[in-house]
Symmetry: C2
Subunit: 168 residues, 2 copies
DNA sequence: GTAGCGATGGCACAATGTGACATCGGCGTG
DNA sequence: CACGCCGATGTCACATTGTGCCATCGCTAC
């Protein structure tokens, strides 16, 4: 992250990152599958947390309500450091490779949530639709939150967006 | 595409593709920014078509209705060759790099649709939400259609999914 | 004819990522 | 304590991707 801020993402090589960390490039690639993956170290943990939270949701909750509850729990973890999120997001959005990776991570959330819903007895395509729509709402809320001034909490913005899910 | 089927995606090098096409690798990279991009040659045109279709939708249509109309028009173009879509999708879903690129392309659709909606006077976050939800529905429907037996048309599956958009 | 120009080739190069093997430093077991 | 195992790291060679730069070729307009 230091280096990405100092010299920009493209101008930073894996060799430099490794050197800064006191290891060799080879070791870097043993810890991160990618050069991109450095910025997404935490997202897999978030995904697991997301799935774990599903168990705490009452069984009679609607599919989208369940997804929303899981996202709310996770958002409480992410949403306390507006500045960090904003700067990280700035790096990501200005590089296509990183945007792609972020989409992939969110898609993994969506898949995991859909799996979880199916295990709760929700059938297709309801499970996938609830998961996809829920994550879509998160995406919009998160983008609005990181680009905004940070006067409103992420939880608030999320709540707002969930209330504005469009209907045909 | 031939080569990707013959030897698999990873086992195919750009040099081989170029040779099959009777050009050099250098020329390949002048036509495609990426090795991945070969499989997504058409999606940018679809995006433009998507945006162009927005103009044909009556102004008093709801945001999501507008998005749906645009997607319907585009789906009519894609949805006639189930076998081609199925095989292409099989290659894509089995390779992380390609899945990422596909997500990026769909995200570009979403962005373009949101832009179009804003130009029609829809404000944020309604525009982004409608675009994201619409594309999410498309994603689910398309996945269901390509993995299914193909007895139902894509338009049908889409219609179905749009009718099942979850509410909290 | 010739000057210009777009498309292609050729070349050198940086950087990413991987496989194979060597090395080092503990750590438990005899 | 000596030994051998084992996980983490280093080293090296390598294929592949992707880019910058310049040369070349063929066509077209003047």
């Amino acid at each position: 992250m230091e280096l990405y801020f100092e010299r920009g993402y493209d101008q930073t090589t894996v060799a430099e990152i490794a050197q800064r960390a006191g290891v060799t490039s080879r070791t870097f690639f043993r810890y991160f599958v990618d050069k991109r993956e450095v910025l997404f170290a935490g997202t897999d943990a978030v995904r697991e947390r997301l799935v774990a939270t599903l168990d705490t949701v009452p069984p009679d909750t609607t599919p989208l309500g369940t997804v929303r509850a899981a996202l709310d729990a996770v958002v409480a973890l992410i949403g306390d450091d507006h500045d960090h999120s904003r700067r990280r997001q700035q790096i990501i959005t200005t590089h296509a490779e990183l945007r792609e990776r972020e989409l992939a991570k969110l898609a993994a959330w969506s898949r995991a949530l859909a799996d979880g819903l199916r295990q709760r007895g929700v059938d297709e395509p309801a499970a996938s639709l609830a998961a996809e729509v829920g994550v879509a709402v998160f995406r919009v809320a998160f983008e609005q939150w990181t680009t905004g001034p940070g006067d409103r909490s992420l939880v608030e913005v999320m709540h707002d967006s969930f209330g504005r899910i469009p209907t045909a």
